[in-house]
């Protein structure tokens, strides 16, 4: 059994080498590509299972943003009477809700990757990144549906004579989505990796995301913020994205390439640290979870 010579071993082509700690920057995207069917099936699973045993089924994809928008319109628009950059309140809040939901959902759902899948991860190997990536994709599909819904309301308001108009900046939409996905994924997997050791974080996430929403111009335009507080709001990498989205789509708000570059840099930083931590934790998280 143990007679094989060492030299002979080195000549052989091993299909798999298991090492204690692989290169931190080695994302093994090739392997993820090999498991693309799995990613697709995870996405499908999320869609098929989420509204099983509900009467309205997929309609919930539309009802959720609608209810939030109505609530925001009543509370922040009618009662608090916050300014909306001259836009119809409904459109203002709905655009904010739709885009914020994508980021928040990506973050919330990826942040429980390890804890929620511990049982599965403990039994079988597949690239762990398949789970957060599938979350990004299924949320992207949700976003597209809700975005289409938003467009319908836009057309309605435009026909009613509203001044809201999309402009050429709309071509940047894919970049905005990419920025949000990157930020959501980055923060999500950092939190997910840390929750394998510290469950405390789980409770902070929901609260933190909500807090972050109020630090982002979702329910108010940045123009309504006093100038001395503005840098604070602008330090939030989500601010240029939400504002830019609203400007490109509705023609009100601000868009500034410098701020967007800042968001991009921030996103890359978060994503990189996220991947580093994720890679470290992934290998041995079963021992601590």
């Amino acid at each position: 059994m143990q007679t094989t010579k060492k030299t002979e071993l080195e000549d052989q082509n091993w299909s798999l080498v298991i090492r204690p700690q692989r290169n931190l920057f080695d994302l093994r995207l090739g392997e993820l590509w090999h498991y693309r069917d799995l990613v697709g099936l995870f996405v499908r699973r999320d869609f098929v299972s989420i509204y099983k045993q509900t009467i309205l089924g997929p309609l919930w994809y539309l009802i959720q943003p609608l209810l939030t928008t109505v609530m925001f319109t009543v509370v922040f628009g009618k009662i608090a009477n916050l300014p909306t950059d001259g836009l119809p309140q409904f459109l203002f809040y709905m655009s904010g809700t739709v885009i914020w939901t994508y980021f928040a959902e990506c973050l919330n759902k990826t942040s429980v990757t390890f804890v929620q899948n511990a049982q599965l991860f403990g039994k079988v190997y597949f690239p762990r990144l398949a789970v957060p990536v599938s979350i990004l994709i299924s949320n992207l599909i949700t976003f597209i549906i809700q975005f289409g819904f938003l467009l319908m309301f836009m057309v309605y308001f435009m026909l009613r004579g509203s001044s809201a108009r999309p402009n050429l900046w709309i071509l940047l939409l894919p970049l905005l989505i990419l920025l949000m996905a990157g930020l959501g994924l980055g923060f999500g997997i950092i939190i997910s990796s840390l929750t394998t050791k510290y469950r405390d974080l789980r409770f902070l996430v929901t609260f933190g995301v909500q807090l972050l929403m109020y630090a982002t111009p979702v329910i108010y335009p940045i123009s309504s913020i006093p100038a001395r507080f503005r840098p604070l709001i602008l330090a939030n990498p989500m601010t240029p994205i939400v504002e830019g989205f609203r400007y490109a789509l509705l023609g009100a708000g601000t868009i500034n390439p410098v701020y967007l570059l800042y968001s991009l840099g921030f996103m890359l930083l978060v994503l990189l640290s996220g991947v580093l931590i994720f890679n470290r934790v992934e290998a041995t998280f079963m021992d601590t979870v």
Partner: protein, 426 residues
């Protein structure tokens, strides 16, 4: 000479004690604070069983493992609980990473311990087959190709579009197993300790293993059942304390294992401190062993033959003691018990310092093949427990020509009865 498909080089895996199970920031801070003041880890459990592989707060579950497995080999892995068997399989299946060392593998690895993981209750059988297949590493096309086979194997044709949450547990396990069984891995890992399901299902796992091995594939098999190991494996590796004790021919390693650890053996020394016992302690079991009717030591008997349970008792007080033996299946089901007063109307009148050897003879084992455990118990006249040891002995009943007809009893039996069949033509 066939080629090496698994090469393990200087593999070690350590676990940090104290870190495991803390889970919250406050606990980690407590540990850190205690360390700072030079106090022992406050979260370390007292009296944690270890096998001498603990080094401060680091437990070496595996230490410097070197191993070559050739293609077509069926390698058994045995050892006591905590010897590192499951850890080794976990590293091979990439669920967790080693601390140091290297493993090189040729071909696809699959393990039968992940049966049914990743099933989503809301999805239909069809959807779950694809999902589970993908989780186990199959592509969509591969699953499609084997789909009909999987469904036929699981015998769930008419329920294929029903959500699996409506499946009976039997259907669920069959479907899960069917997917895993159609993976066609080059290397199969089987951890019987973790295998879910009933005896029939475990039997199916073993059958699948046999089949895989016959096809020239490689199998690594962890088990506590020496009979299964003996049946299936060419070679056996004995682990203890995270190190390899021996790798050799099956029979040699098994006998070494039994010699070394008594586990599963028909003989046990009950004077050690770590024997878990209950009772007043006025008298104590010192030794217990299982013998054949001919008086040879054994741990396995053929169905239909008899055995003798011999116990040595040392008394520390003047006490009147009746002896009871309880028989349990490996799954913990109590089969029967026999008490010296009930059966033979005797209890021992013990004096301080007196040693007595008691024998209990079971003339014919009419129970099904499998592993069984014996609990030993001494009670006084008031049914107060003097000494009681759970799972003191274990033995195995091996399949045999029970009825003397040359036919093996068929089906899933628990017991055998000596029945007479007659018929009359009319």
């Amino acid at each position: 000479m066939s080629q090496t498909v698994i090469s393990v080089e200087n593999l070690s895996k350590s676990y940090r004690l104290g870190q495991i199970g803390t889970g919250t920031l406050t606990n980690d801070l407590r540990v850190w604070w205690a360390k700072l003041r030079g106090q022992p880890n406050p979260l370390l459990k007292i009296g944690q069983a270890d096998h001498g592989n603990r080094d401060g707060e680091t437990l070496w579950a595996l230490k410097d493992i070197n191993l070559q497995v050739e293609q077509g080999e069926v390698l058994g892995i045995i050892g006591r609980n905590g010897a590192g068997k499951s850890t080794l399989l976990k590293i091979l299946s990439r669920v967790t990473a080693p601390t140091s060392g290297l493993v090189k593998v040729k071909g696809r690895i699959a393990s039968l311990l992940e049966v049914g993981t990743g099933f989503h209750p809301e999805l239909t059988g069809r959807e779950n087959i694809y999902l589970n297949g993908a989780i186990l590493g199959m592509t969509r096309a591969e699953v499609s190709r084997k789909f009909d086979e999987i469904v036929a194997f699981a015998e769930i044709e008419q329920f294929i579009d029903t959500p699996v949450k409506r499946f009976s547990s039997g259907m669920y396990v069959r479907l899960a197993f069917a997917v895993a069984a159609h993976l066609e891995p080059e290397i199969l890992l089987v951890d019987e300790v973790l295998a879910v399901g009933d005896a029939g299902f475990q039997q199916k796992c073993l059958g699948k293993m046999n089949e895989v091995a016959k096809l020239g594939r490689t199998v690594l098999f962890v088990s506590h059942q020496m009979a299964a190991i003996e049946n299936l494996c060419n070679h056996v590796m004995l682990l203890d304390g995270g190190r390899i004790i021996t790798i050799s021919k099956t029979a040699d390693v098994i006998s070494q294992y039994l010699r070394l650890f008594n586990t599963g053996a028909g003989k046990i020394d009950l004077t050690a401190d770590d024997v878990e016992r209950k009772g007043t302690g006025e008298a104590k079991f010192q030794k217990a062993e299982i013998l054949t009717l001919a008086g040879e030591m054994t741990s396995s008997v053929q169905a239909g033959t008899g055995l003798v349970v011999r116990m040595e008792i040392l008394s520390h007080a003047q006490v009147n003691a009746e002896i009871g033996v309880g028989m349990f299946s490996s799954g913990g089901l109590r089969l029967t018990g026999f008490n010296s007063r009930d059966l033979n109307n005797f209890a021992l009148d013990l004096l301080p310092g007196q040693r007595v050897v008691v024998e209990c003879k079971i003339p014919k084992m009419n129970i099904a093949p499998g592993a069984y455990r014996l609990n030993l118990r001494m009670m006084n006249l008031h049914r107060q427990v003097i000494d009681s040891i759970d799972q003191a002995l274990s033995f195995e009943v091996v399949p045999a020509n029970y009825f003397g007809t040359g036919r093996m009893p068929r089906g899933n039996n628990l017991i055998f009865l000596d029945v007479d069949w007659h018929y009359q033509s009319q």
